[in-house]
């Protein structure tokens, strides 16, 4: 910014020189007029000595002609003659004469002489104002002579005069800065900022102050200064300078890891277009101001000084603008900075937006390559895998030789791995490895690659990849990891003998290694898998002895111990080992496994009571645990099997009541479904006898007053009715819930059910209300697929297959399709069919048709759709194949009358297209012979076809 550079001082000095030359001129004119010799001269003596008056008049003439060297020489001569005793004309003050000479010397670069003259005036004159003016010239001359340190105290003295205070502080600050007296400069600027009017000079001072604070690394002060400047935008003429300084401040804040301050700085920088516009606006304003001051008739010294200052500021602003224009793509550089600052703050979505804009709108910017790489990370950290992978691909496409690509590809691979997308993870790791990454990264990538293969179940390949890593980096940082990964890959491949050897080898090579405890446990597990129970037990015992009580794997090892004891037909010991294991930390899967094993052993021994009590105790101790539902399931089954349904219901109700009033606890619904099964008798050993309304046995008096709890009780009754095939009562109860409860008090499970209920009742708008409420309030609910599938069905019904496809895909991708996988898959297929995306639709219909678990109407519908897809191709081969699908429907799925009718009709029509008239007639007649179908629309069409064909036949 060069705010306090010497070039800054020079014009200011010239301002003052001009001012003082003006003074000289006035003085000379006054002298001439005083003698009544305006413009005239005095006759000389024989020995020519030009009278002083004439010398002064001549000096004035030169000044007017801007010949300052002549002015200085003449005034020096006058000063010398005065010092030799010659009298000055009446009214002319010798100190003022010296001042005029000093001023002229400043103008011509004779700073030492100017300094000496002005200093002498300061010492000699008693006139305060002249003394201040002289001090000002003295300070300026020193500064211009690069004697900044000497100038500082001169300006400090000058600041004691209130008439010169603001300017003296400003010049003192500038001189101090040049002298390296940063603290003095800052103090002087602070005085200017605190007391001077908030005009252009103030803004210049603030910019300089911020710049100094930045040099000192005082970022809080920098921010404070920038806030001042932003608060007075109209005072700032050098808007581009301010923007550049702000960027520097942001960069300093980023270096200091203060991303918040950095972001605040970067966000306050306008775009280049806006900066140029503001610059031009300010430049015009300065131009007008300068012209206005110049136009003032008889402009005084102050105006002249102001003109110079404005011109200086204008020049500085232009210089800043040219820096801006030299800086390449300014907007791209600001966007990159903002993106990084957002990223550093963890605002990765915002970072992605900013970097994305840079990438899309600044294709030629130098910053684009870095932006691409950072964007990959931003997308990865915001969990958007598709965008991550796409951006990584675009990076290597746009910058094939980028040094950033290996790292970015590794990030993309990691993101794919985090989302369980092993093929993409492996693909991107391989791409990264192909890009010759630096050795440190290469070793990491090799290990990640082996790990990804292991996670993808490609254990043999994982062994090979681990071996490759070990060969490439035999002394690398990850040798132990690679060795153990290779061993584990062999272990899970079922080669237990080899695994035992490799585990032993690992333990020998890394006796205190990070995986030593795990290796000991795996050795026991391998022995167990080989049904060598004695050595397995010995290994477990050795492990338990060697490792502390609080070892993280102790529960797992005890669980294995239980398995070994159970396999050795020692149920009591096995139960003891399992129960001991439960007292240690375990994964949910591990804990569930043990609880199930314990229940299995105890049920086999008909120990119902302790088995049920264990689950009850578990539910009591872990009310929010994922297995509470399992607990209710087992309690219901065990106590029902023991012939005590009331106890089962009472116990399950107790578990359920805990969260019955809270609509956000959606596991309650799964528990209620179990309750309904027990209440309806739809469990092994269950009784069909009624147990009364759930309101009576599920709700306490307090819960009876809570709409959510009441709705849940009715829901249990509705489920009981459904299980007993009493659909009228089920519908009545669901209606009761819909009528009396607003969606915001209903849990996700009920919203989904009510949405389906209203849709089935032909009320799509109310259904949409329930579905939307579900997805808006709990989009990742276990029951969210009810809403997505429902919304998809509504979209299909309203003729919007694109929207339907989005919803069906959300049911699978977002909600996991826990309850509605078939409906969602079939919905996707139907939407694709409606969108005429035949190939994709065909794949899905085939998938449904071949899934035994889904056999039913969905199969009939899918087989029919496969026929339709082929029939549209129109060639005989495809038509024949289509015929096969239609026949499969009316022969194999007769239960589903509507599809049978459609299949008959389309089969007949296909026969006609194949020219097989007789077969077509037979097929139509077949359709019309089925009593269930005679009233259908298809039957009506078949009749018309038949009449036509028979008519044609008789005509022939």
């Amino acid at each position: 910014l060069a705010l306090a550079s010497a070039t800054h001082l020079v014009p200011m000095a010239l301002n003052s020189t001009t001012e003082l030359c003006d003074l000289t001129g006035r003085l000379a004119r006054a002298v001439c007029m005083g003698l009544g010799m305006a413009g005239g001269c005095v006759l000389g003596h024989a020995q020519v000595q030009i009278p002083l008056v004439q010398v002064l008049a001549e000096a004035e003439t030169h000044r007017t002609a801007r010949r300052f060297a002549e002015v200085a020489a003449l005034l020096d001569r006058a000063v010398a003659r005065v010092s030799q005793g010659e009298r000055l004309p009446e009214g002319v003050d010798p100190d003022r004469l010296q001042m005029a000479a000093a001023t002229a010397h400043v103008r011509t670069g004779g700073f030492a002489r100017a300094s000496a003259l002005a200093k002498a005036v300061v010492a000699a004159t008693k006139a305060k104002s002249l003394q201040s003016e002289a001090r000002f010239v003295w300070g300026l001359a020193l500064a211009l002579d690069q004697k900044f340190a000497e100038a500082v105290p001169v300006f400090a003295e000058l600041a004691l005069d209130p008439n010169h205070r603001d300017r003296a502080w400003l010049y003192q600050a500038i001189a101090a800065r040049e002298a390296g007296q940063i603290e003095v400069a800052i103090a002087a600027y602070e005085r200017v900022l605190a007391q001077a009017p908030q005009d252009g000079d103030w803004a210049d001072a603030a910019l300089a102050w911020v710049s100094l604070q930045l040099q000192r690394g005082q970022l809080a002060e920098v921010e404070r200064g920038l806030v001042w400047l932003r608060g007075r935008p109209e005072a700032v003429d050098n808007v581009v300078g301010l923007a550049l300084l702000t960027l520097q401040a942001g960069d300093a804040a980023m270096t200091a890891e203060d991303a918040i301050a950095a972001l605040a700085a970067y966000q306050s920088v306008p775009s280049k277009v806006e900066l140029v516009r503001l610059h031009e606006e300010r430049d015009r304003r300065l131009e007008v101001q300068i012209a206005g001051l110049r136009a003032l008739s008889g402009a005084g010294a102050a105006d002249s000084d102001a003109v110079r200052r404005l011109e200086l500021r204008r020049a500085q602003a232009k210089q800043a603008l040219s820096e801006l224009n030299r800086s390449g793509d300014f907007d791209a550089s600001v966007l990159l900075r903002r993106g990084r600052a957002f990223q550093a703050r963890g605002q990765v979505w915002e970072a992605a937006l900013v970097l994305g804009r840079l990438v899309e709108r600044h294709p030629a910017a130098a910053e684009r390559e870095v932006a691409f790489a950072t964007l990959v990370r931003a997308y990865a950290e915001s969990g958007r895998l598709d965008r991550t992978l796409e951006t990584a691909r675009r990076l290597i496409e746009a910058y094939p030789k980028s040094e950033l690509s290996a790292q970015a590809l590794a990030v993309a691979a990691q993101a794919a791995g985090d989302r369980g997308n092993r093929p993409e993870q492996l693909h991107f790791l391989e791409l990264a490895l192909d890009r010759s990454p630096p050795p440190e990264l290469r070793e990491t990538l090799l290990l990640l690659h082996a790990n990804a293969l292991f996670a993808a179940g490609q254990h043999d390949a994982a062994r090979t990849a681990s071996g490759r890593s070990l060969e490439t980096f035999p002394e690398g940082r990850f040798v132990e990891d690679a060795v153990y990964l290779k061993t584990m890959a062999g272990f899970v491949m079922g080669k237990q003998e080899r695994a035992l050897e490799e585990l032993a080898a690992y333990l020998a090579r890394f006796p205190g290694g990070r995986f030593a405890a795990d290796a000991g446990y795996r050795m026991a597990a391998a022995e167990f898998a080989l049904e060598r129970y004695e050595p397995a037990s010995a290994s477990v015992s050795a492990w338990l002895e060697a490792h502390p009580e609080d070892h993280a794997q102790r529960g797992e090892v005890l669980s294995l111990h239980g398995d070994i004891l159970a396999a050795r037909s020692l149920p009591d010991e096995a139960i003891a080992a399992y129960e001991l294991a439960l007292e240690h930390p375990l994964s949910d899967d591990g804990r569930g496994y043990i609880l199930d094993e314990l229940t299995r052993i105890q049920l086999a021994r008909r120990e119902f009571e302790p088995a049920a009590r264990r689950w009850e105790a578990f539910a009591e101790r872990n009310p929010d645990h994922a297995f509470t539902i399992n607990a209710a399931y087992w309690i219901g089954r065990i106590r029902t099997q023991a012939g005590d349904r009331p106890a089962a219901l009472a116990s399950m109700a107790m578990v359920a009541r805990r969260h019955l009033a809270d609509p956000r606890k959606e596991d309650v619904e799964r528990l209620l479904l179990e309750l309904a099964r027990v209440a309806s008798g739809a469990v092994p050993g269950g009784s069909g006898a009624g147990v009364g309304s759930a309101e009576t046995w599920l709700l306490t008096p307090e819960l009876g007053g809570v709409p959510t709890a009441r709705a849940r009780a009715w829901f249990v009754d509705a489920e009981v009715a459904a299980l007993r095939r009493d659909e009228a009562r089920r519908d009545a109860l669901l209606e009761q819930i819909a009528r009396t409860c607003s969606p915001d008090v209903l849990p996700a499970g009920l919203l989904g059910r009510l949405g389906d209920h209203r849709r089935a009742a032909g009320d799509p708008e109310q259904a949409r209300v329930y579905y939307t409420a579900l997805v808006a309030a709990a989009p990742r609910s276990h029951f969210a697929d009810f809403a997505y599938v429902g919304l998809g069905e509504l979209a299909l019904a309203s003729g919007n297959p694109s929207e339907a496809l989005v919803q069906f895909e959300a049911a699978i991708d977002l909600a996991g399709a826990r309850f509605k996988l078939l409906e969602a898959t079939l919905g996707r297929a139907r939407a694709l069919f409606a969108l005429e995306r035949w190939t994709e639709a065909k794949v899905l219909f085939e998938q449904i048709a071949s899934n035994r678990a889904w056999r039913g109407e969905a199969t009939a519908r899918s087989v029919f759709a496969l026929g339709e897809i082929l029939a549209r191709e129109g060639d005989p081969d495809a038509l024949a194949k289509a015929q096969g699908f239609y026949q499969r429907v009316y022969l194999g799925y007769r239960k589903f009358a509507p599809w049978v009718a459609r299949a008959y009709l389309r089969s007949g029509e296909t026969f006609e297209r194949l020219g097989q008239r007789t077969e077509a007639v037979a097929t139509y007649r077949e359709l019309l012979r089925d009593n269930r179908l005679t009233a259908s629309a298809e039957a009506e069409v078949a009749r018309r076809h038949l009449a036509r064909l028979e008519g044609e036949g008789s005509a022939t």
């Binding site: 972001l263 605040a264 966000q267 306050s268 903002r338 957002f342 605002q347 979505w349 915002e350 937006l353 900013v354 804009r357 709108r361 969990g383 958007r384 939307t772 997805v775 808006a776 989009p779 990742r780 919304l791 919007n800 929207e803 989005v806 959300a810």
Partner: protein, 314 residues
């Protein structure tokens, strides 16, 4: 061209408001006096000197009409009535007693006019939620500039733009659509047209037509637009996507505000509430918590903070 009065006046286009040549029976341009109609332009010569002052090209600070031939009329000397401009030839003040000359408004090729105060006031009123006040101000400006709706420098389109936004804010959707169609038919500037389309998209959203709103806003925001359009459009598009349960798209729209217009902290409560809902939709509990915390902590007095407390906090 002559520099004398006759020369200047002789160069005046002689058209009526409908663009037809407008002459007296004698075939001369018509000049009227408040007291009597002077049939011959030449007989009004004495008044011409007075009118010279207002017919000579001048600076751009005041409110002026520039005519096709380059001359400029001071607003104070003109009354626009029934599609015509009545120009005072007397002391330069419209309505003052003296001669008048009627000119068709079609002669005006540019308005040199600062932004009317009512527009500034109306915008402020709209921001403050006073749609009725904004509408009054917008109506006043729109009526005043209606005869010059397509003339460069006219504030008509700006006023109608404000009118449209005020009507939308007042929930008068039918009138909003009518006014929007009228403005779009008048071929406004690109930024004005964009803002109108954003406003209409807002009406679409309020009527549940999210498909239409999403399509318009997505297309609008694809390319660079003015900051005002981007801000309004992005907020609205975010809400459209929220209504459509499209969480990722909602975030990408809403977060344009902090990403590119970080100084608009006044909009942050709206952005944060929408973002929290979208993060919830994406099952990003950490970001939901942080966003809600920021909203309830930094903007605790906002309506959105109160909503968030009810919706997200236990």
């Amino acid at each position: 061209m002559k520099t004398g009065k006759a020369g200047r006046l002789g160069s005046l286009p002689r058209m009526d408001a409908k663009g037809r040549e407008w002459r007296s029976k004698a075939g001369k341009p018509e000049v009227r006096n408040a007291a009597r109609v002077v049939s011959s332009l030449w007989r009004a010569g004495a008044l011409m000197l007075a009118v010279l002052a207002i017919l000579w090209p001048q600076g751009v600070q005041a409110q002026r009409y520039r005519l096709r031939d380059g001359r400029v009329l001071e607003q104070s000397a003109v009354v626009v009535r029934d599609g015509r401009m009545v120009v005072s030839l007397g002391d330069g003040q419209a309505g003052a007693k003296g001669a008048e000359m009627t000119l068709p408004v079609s002669l005006v090729v540019e308005l040199q006019w600062p932004e009317p105060e009512e527009l500034r006031r109306g915008r402020a009123a709209l921001t403050a939620g006073q749609a009725g006040e904004a509408l009054l101000d917008a109506d006043a400006v729109a009526s005043r500039f209606a005869p010059f709706s397509r003339v460069p420098g006219s504030w008509w389109a700006d006023a109608v733009g404000l009118q449209i936004r005020a009507l939308a804010a007042a929930g008068r959707s039918g009138e909003t659509r009518e006014a929007a169609a009228m403005l779009l038919a008048a071929d406004p500037r690109a930024d004005q047209a964009a803002m109108v389309r954003v406003t209409v998209a807002g009406i679409d959203l309020s009527e549940g037509k999210t498909d239409a709103a999403a399509a318009v806003l997505t297309e609008l925001l694809r390319d660079p637009v003015s900051a005002e359009v981007e801000i309004e459009g992005a907020l609205l598009l975010g809400e459209v996507h929220l209504a459509r349960l499209e969480w990722e798209k909602a975030l990408e729209a809403l977060l344009r505000i902090p990403a590119f217009h970080g100084r608009r902290v006044d909009l942050m409560p709206r952005v944060l509430l929408g973002s929290a809902r979208a993060y919830r939709g994406l099952d990003d509990a950490g970001r939901v918590e942080r966003t809600v915390l920021e909203l309830t902590d930094r903007y605790e007095d906002s309506l959105q903070a109160a909503t968030a407390k009810k919706e997200f906090l236990p």
